[in-house]
Symmetry: C2
Subunit: 251 residues, 2 copies
Amino acid sequence: MQQPLDSVWTRQPRASKSSPTLSRGQIVRAALELLDAEGLDALSMRRLGARLGAGATSLYWHVAHKDEVLELVMDEVYGEVPLPDPETVGWQDAAVRFAYGLREALFKHPWAIPLISTRPSIGPNAMRLSTRMAAVFEQAGFTGMSLDYASSALLSYVLGAIAPEIAWRTTIDRSGLSSEELAAAMHQTVRQAARDHPELLERYERYTGHDVDVTRAISFDFGLTCLLDGMKVRLEQDAPATPEARRTRRT
Amino acid sequence: MQQPLDSVWTRQPRASKSSPTLSRGQIVRAALELLDAEGLDALSMRRLGARLGAGATSLYWHVAHKDEVLELVMDEVYGEVPLPDPETVGWQDAAVRFAYGLREALFKHPWAIPLISTRPSIGPNAMRLSTRMAAVFEQAGFTGMSLDYASSALLSYVLGAIAPEIAWRTTIDRSGLSSEELAAAMHQTVRQAARDHPELLERYERYTGHDVDVTRAISFDFGLTCLLDGMKVRLEQDAPATPEARRTRRT
DNA sequence: GCCTCTTCTCGTACGGTGTTCGATTTCACT
DNA sequence: AGTGAAATCGAACACCGTACGAGAAGAGGC
């Protein structure tokens, strides 16, 4: 038999006889603040310790590596996503709300995106989110493996859609320019970079004048609708004959 | 007017009177090898220089920051994605091939995923890829902004779907265990982590026995089909009446 | 051949990083 | 008050990205 991998989630959070000055909760809260305020690169153990009025190495009593801090903080982000109840709003509405909720949470914590592709999300909040999504798609009429397929398809789309948005947003922040200033500067940069692709430039110019954030939201919604519509197609294919069968399949 | 942002792509690649020992091309090639062999953390300017038989700081003549190296290497990955021609295979087939091509390229270079969400992809290969995808969806019958929406929806799904796969794969590699060993170990870990979510555990157990890679591929295909089916729905909604109108719209 | 100017390489150094380890403090409980 | 565990901390190690200025290498004119 194999011993379980040790992970933040399988190990107990260090006794907590009392909470003298440090604790897991305080650490993740401080880390979250630091990350939100100054981004991923700003999070160092020394700075994190300083923010808690503690030495850098004191953290290592409560946490094994820096990675564990990140894992804990990541799960905190998942915890911020509101979980709609498919029973009351219907599965499609629930899926849409869920997608937008995740999008919003990740916008609030842009540093989280690169972390997702680095370590698997198996914290309690991620799991809660996962089971709730399965419930949504069960309500829709999916069964067996398709439950997972549908869940992860939705999750995949949302994550993938947000990644480039975050990329732009962080380069904006790093450049120190305002959104409009950068739009102007970018106009020239893209013009130059795309000199071999005139039709791409043409498409790009179509964007100018529109509010970037609005355009992105529309784009997000477009893909989301497509994905859900495709799922509906799938459901109808699998159970085309009796529409009330789907309603009673639940349980 | 705004001056263009300076970026690797707008700046010329340093004279190249002759190529004494270093050049951009050699640097990106060496970086790619290093990244593929040992991962993102292994790429340091010192090690990269050493691999080229050069000092670490010599690189800074050809490249402004480490970030530029990463940007160049990222575009190299985009360059590996085969670009299907929608004229010959049809838009759906082209989209599917494209998706699988990107998936494969990213599997070969797992370190690339976290980079995507950090810096926008505006290298020449990324642009070539982007215009080709627009062509695919133009062939499908999309017009105007929907061209971009559809393109980025597909791209988003692929990226988002791959991210968690990479996450698992890299933790497997880091752990040093084989895929089966880790499956066994993970079984226990998940069992413990999911103790509050028995139905999730039940779903997880359904996986055991199946080949993980196959399951992932099926899952990937599921979402991809849903997305494309949803796009078809969209196309039919926008031009429901005359099916030959769609065929002639192209040009 | 020699000089000069540009192109390119490199050693050194600075301030920062994650983490180890042993000494030290703090604290609850007898 | 004393003791043992829990928690904190300082110093140190190896490594990182990069600024800077000294130097090597090569081309072109004389």
